[in-house]
Symmetry: D3
Subunit: 296 residues, 6 copies
């Protein structure tokens, strides 16, 4: 192709987006979960159809926002005439009171869609905010915060996106897009070397391989075999420091196990490349967001 | 019918169950989310098909368990020959180390199913445990802890079940199974009385009606009109006490707004019937559960 | 919220609508059921693509119309350029010859969509018309005509909507949105009191409870326990009259069992609040509607 | 193949069955429609899980039964341990009181499945019974009763099966499995001959072609062109008699339009091959069937 | 209807189209198959969102094109703002270099949709091209090339459409839209006559019946019974010639079995009406089509 | 875990399997595609229900088999009592006449399932056989045959599995599990270095990155930046030889573009690691397999 467009290369957003095909049906299902048998009885019984409102979605506590496109699709799925005007982008930091989006449309449709839209936005912003907190605690180190497969069933792609929005990075998305040889696999294979040989013989050239190592012997064996990454699970700061030194840049190093807001900084200071944390996806509280209306 | 079975009436479980039809497809979808394009590469590349294991699911922290049947279905969906032997029932309190279930089956299938099963079990047990915590803080009062519609999209029926497992009760499940007239509806209707009249004229005889009231005037108006329940949102302890006295048992009273582990006790002491809490479903951390294997 | 809009409160339609998300996929499935493997062979083989027609949907017999929005979605699902102009609203009474809607669009698409659209419209209008007939027979009484769970599989929400369009009201929508303790449940529980105690201990505060009673003893027991409604099944006019007197307004009274166009009036005259009728949903004949075309 | 099995040829059932893949998902959807958000509250709150019952499904009025396999699948979908023992086959004539099937299983599951199973069985038996009534009225003639595409959305294959169970035959199943050139198509094509030429040039050799004819000129034109069947719509008895004579066995003749229990006999006596009736599928009342339980 | 439009009758396209409802969900599923967990990583990480491109889809080898509407839907499903301008219609013959369509839209969306769109277009054009090749080899004979049920699972309607685009005709679409009595059925029935009697007694008047015959005796028996078509499987040219003569136009004759580009001409010359070929759907190679971009 | 099982490590099959959850719904959909409206008319009208048959699936030409588990699921989905006894495993080489599987069950169900089962088995075995042919042509070299994303829509995971069964390896499965920077991406990014920087900044540590290079300058730039693999598209043998030498083992080398049975050997001899071929998935002919029955 003969396209000359060097000047636009830098405009690529930092945050990899989701395509609506990846969540559209889930949004519809969530709305049906709320509409139930009979729809929004209260709204249908009290709000005239031609009334139009404006609304403002604002943060009620500090955090990082994620899920604005999902919220937009939620409102649109209830009524395609609703205008959803995001005032910030996913990944933006907000303080209490900051406006996140303005919406306008039929009052009844806005009320019907409100809860599902906020459930998505609050949940994903909660994941992003928890991630951002740990990212902040590791500022100045080489360590990146990454998520795990400990996600809410049905929401993995969205939660992984929210981790990215919070400044974190993604570990593998499923059992299929990378190999992670854990203790149970090693126990059957007999050794790191045997496990790696068995895997290498079976997976394609574009699949990365990570091995969980419990001690320095396993670490050396893994490095000898040429893995892409090592998972250093539940190691002390000293053990991590030693392990990182041994690796010496030969592969990616990942620390995991019981990471808290307090321990993440010291762990990052050991020089590991990645710190994986399950609770940013499975246990982060919602970000509190409110939606207030006025006549339009 | 001429059935004589008075002696079995008392055996009805306290906890209303879900039917598998209510979560079976979600379990399958969650497994597919994890299997992705190519399935469990690591397990398929390291675990021989005929190896069988036993496993033990145990709590790693105190809490209340919920979701055992969902976990059973998850394992069965991966391999119908897996035996899942729950050692306790949903709603049981556990301490760290307590065995929750034993499983037995093909090692590969157990590893493939493990993460999805634990994601469900951990999430639902987290909801149950958070609920149980608040229930414990309100012991000795008439107040029941109830959930809201602030649930994780796609998981409402399961999370509402987990609230019941934790000793709480369920508020409405969707927009359709009860009427809840909130401030936005009242603003349009013009008054509590007008809103109630509009609703009564439109919904069936088996739909209960609750109204959010902000002050004693609205409360009196609601009582005059004969509502089933009043939502007392963000009131102080004094306001709640006064409101409960005014109601005098004429309808159900529900307190809501900013409930914490600390405030729930004093609020319960005001005599309200219900305390609704969003965070037990949207922000409760997972209960930490582990799965350990041995050769069978 | 600071919305001042008292003057619009009275514009809320009497008929609670369905949201398209509640039937959209069913419409698509019904069209695929008709398109089958190869689509509309006859139309595709005889009608040029650029031909546009106008059409008129008109009643061929008297009745009450329901399902216009479903019909609109059916045409739109076949070709989004079809214009569907409803001339009356659901719930309107029509005489033979009355125009219900005018449509305009590609002739082929109109012919392809015609049968499914009329199948919905005829079926739902049939339900509405049967309901309206009974409503008319009970004019001047307090009795409302309500439907049951004896609906056509897959069409419950639509048929319940059609009952509302016909001037009736809805009983519960499913097994989940209200409790209805019937003879089989009572037989196991041992008594009305025991059954009610068991239920009250397990369901939320927004779930209404109705009990089927066969005699005055059971009725008194139910009233003592404070039920929301009593189902008086297959009682004579005299028995109903006595029962209504005994209830004395303490709860809702519902008559059921073998209701016909002839018996519904006398039953309504006993003073019962509700008369539930299965056949308005499961056995009402279609309303005959025709669609005629002309070149546009 | 070298199979010698002439003696079993005569055992092929007269009634072409459906495969469960053709209705299994619809049954599941119908059960979910009834389970709603929270499942069978009443049963779960009153019936102990280990109680087992026997039940008897019996006719409460005369008719022809259809849908027994669908009912069996409905019970099995709720609890695979339920035994469903059909005492008669689909297509059997019953009198009031005749036993249709016996079931046995967990009492709670039987109660939860009961309504959906009976909704299917009653609806399909209603279609079969209406068909059988018309079949009886045409005994001794060559005329067969056939259904149309005027079916309940989502239930076409099941209703067409019920028509067969009632002794009728099936017209085309959709827009795709046969060509039926109607007045609107003829108006565009300009003539029967032109329409047939356009169709013949476009459809495969296994697609039959039927044409609606309004008068003898069109009939002759159709016969000249060699159609498989002619639809004689809304003709008088005299017109039908003449048309049948003109056809003289050269193609199948079908009468349609306003067929009633009274008119079907005289129409059949004209010698037409088929009489198509929309109301046997869209307006036939349910057959009344009851389910009574006893302790097992 | 009073429509006067004889002059447009000749504009009906020769190629019967599919309705988008027949492939829309398959397109979406194919896109999700490609998007996987995380979407188009490469494009999202390198292409700025506001960049717009033009693209040209061109043939890289001679053939016949099919699937343009499917390709259009694929691009539209990724981004509804993409313009897809087909320069030729399905069924058109192309040479290497011929432009098939021009597209314009967001560069990222075009790249994301490209592969799925071309996979459909290449596959269906391959089927059309293979069909056209055989059609060309039989020019001047009465024989039509028809497909079989040997299609790619999930793509039958699309592949049958592609056969029509290539100038072929369709055999039956499934097990349900026509009867084809094969050797296995005959072996059980005992004779052609018995099989036909059993079938005639059970299927509707719009279902055509074809019988596979292995020899002249079976052929005579079939003709005596009045079948619609006979399948002459794996016969020699001489046998086919004899069979066609015996049939003498009394029914449709179909040759099948091991048809190749070389044998199809001589077989057509025997005078058979149809030649059915499995490999045009199950083994035809893709037509090579390319998509080149330039800045728009 | 304390499992001691070194001796079983070597039993892990070479061929990574699919989990039935990855194709089960597609099998059901393919069966419904064939059953259509009315099911298997011919079989239902000629085969008595209690007749049981044995059948043998055998190869009619040499090749490599794939899809036996899919075929097993197809038969089981039609009738769970069918026994499917695979005599060889996927990936086995067969000659004409070799038995692939024996089946036993109800004759009607076997006939109904036959076509869909063989369509899957023939298609997947065709992919495996084409792959195996190229693998054989490259014996003795380091080159592996890999597939592309040019797969049949809806069948990607199955076709990729078939490639593995044929001895090939898998390239990426979708747009999401690896990065492949192609000419269009490079044109926008401006350079290999810029593209890689943009990607590296956005994707996780377990995602491999491959770059398409057109010349040695780009190759050097890619190697400098440390890519995981380089795609050498449409290069001559000489160019490939030079490129492989330049790479010197620093990354994986992949040749692509116009690979044929004749050219694959010389290309493999250049020392490239991988040769990717689209036509093994999009244009490989079915493997001819037959199913013969006898009475059981």
């Amino acid at each position: 192709m003969k396209v000359e467009s060097p000047e636009v290369g830098q405009e690529v957003p930092r945050l990899l987006p989701l395509h609506p095909l990846q969540y559209r049906d889930a949004v519809t299902a969530a709305l049906r979960e709320d509409l139930g048998h009979a729809g929004d009885l209260t709204t249908n019984a009290t709000i005239p159809p031609h009334l139009r409102w404006r609304g403002t979605i604002a943060a009620r506590q500090p955090g990082v926002v994620a899920g604005l496109e999902v919220a937009r699709h939620t409102f649109a799925a209830v009524d395609s005439s609703i205008r959803f005007d995001a005032r910030i982008g996913d990944g933006s930091r907000v303080e209490a009171g900051d406006v996140v989006a303005r919406i306008e449309g039929p009052a009844g449709a806005l009320l019907t869609a409100e809860r599902v839209a906020l459930n998505y936005l609050g949940h994903l912003s909660g994941v992003a905010s928890a991630t951002a907190l740990l990212v902040a605690r590791t500022a100045g180190t080489r360590a990146r915060i990454v998520c795990t497969r400990k996600t809410t069933p049905g929401l993995r792609a969205l939660e992984k996106y929210a981790v990215r929005a919070g400044g974190g990075a993604n570990h593998r998305f499923g059992l299929d897009d990378a190999v992670l040889i854990k203790d149970n696999h090693l126990a059957v294979a007999g050794s790191v070397r045997a496990a790696l040989a068995s895997v290498r013989d079976r997976v394609g050239h574009l699949v990365k391989i990570e091995v969980e190592v419990d001690n320095l012997e396993q670490l050396e064996e893994a490095l000898d075999c040429g893995v892409d990454a090592v998972l250093l699970d539940n190691m002390t700061i000293d053990e991590l420091t030693t392990a990182v030194a041994r690796v010496g840049g030969r592969c990616v190093t990942e620390a995991s196990g019981g990471i808290t807001e307090q321990t993440v900084g010291p762990i990052a200071a050991t020089g590991v490349d990645l710190i994986s944390v399950g609770w940013i996806t499975h246990s982060s509280p919602c970000l509190d967001l409110g939606l207030d209306f006025e006549a339009s």
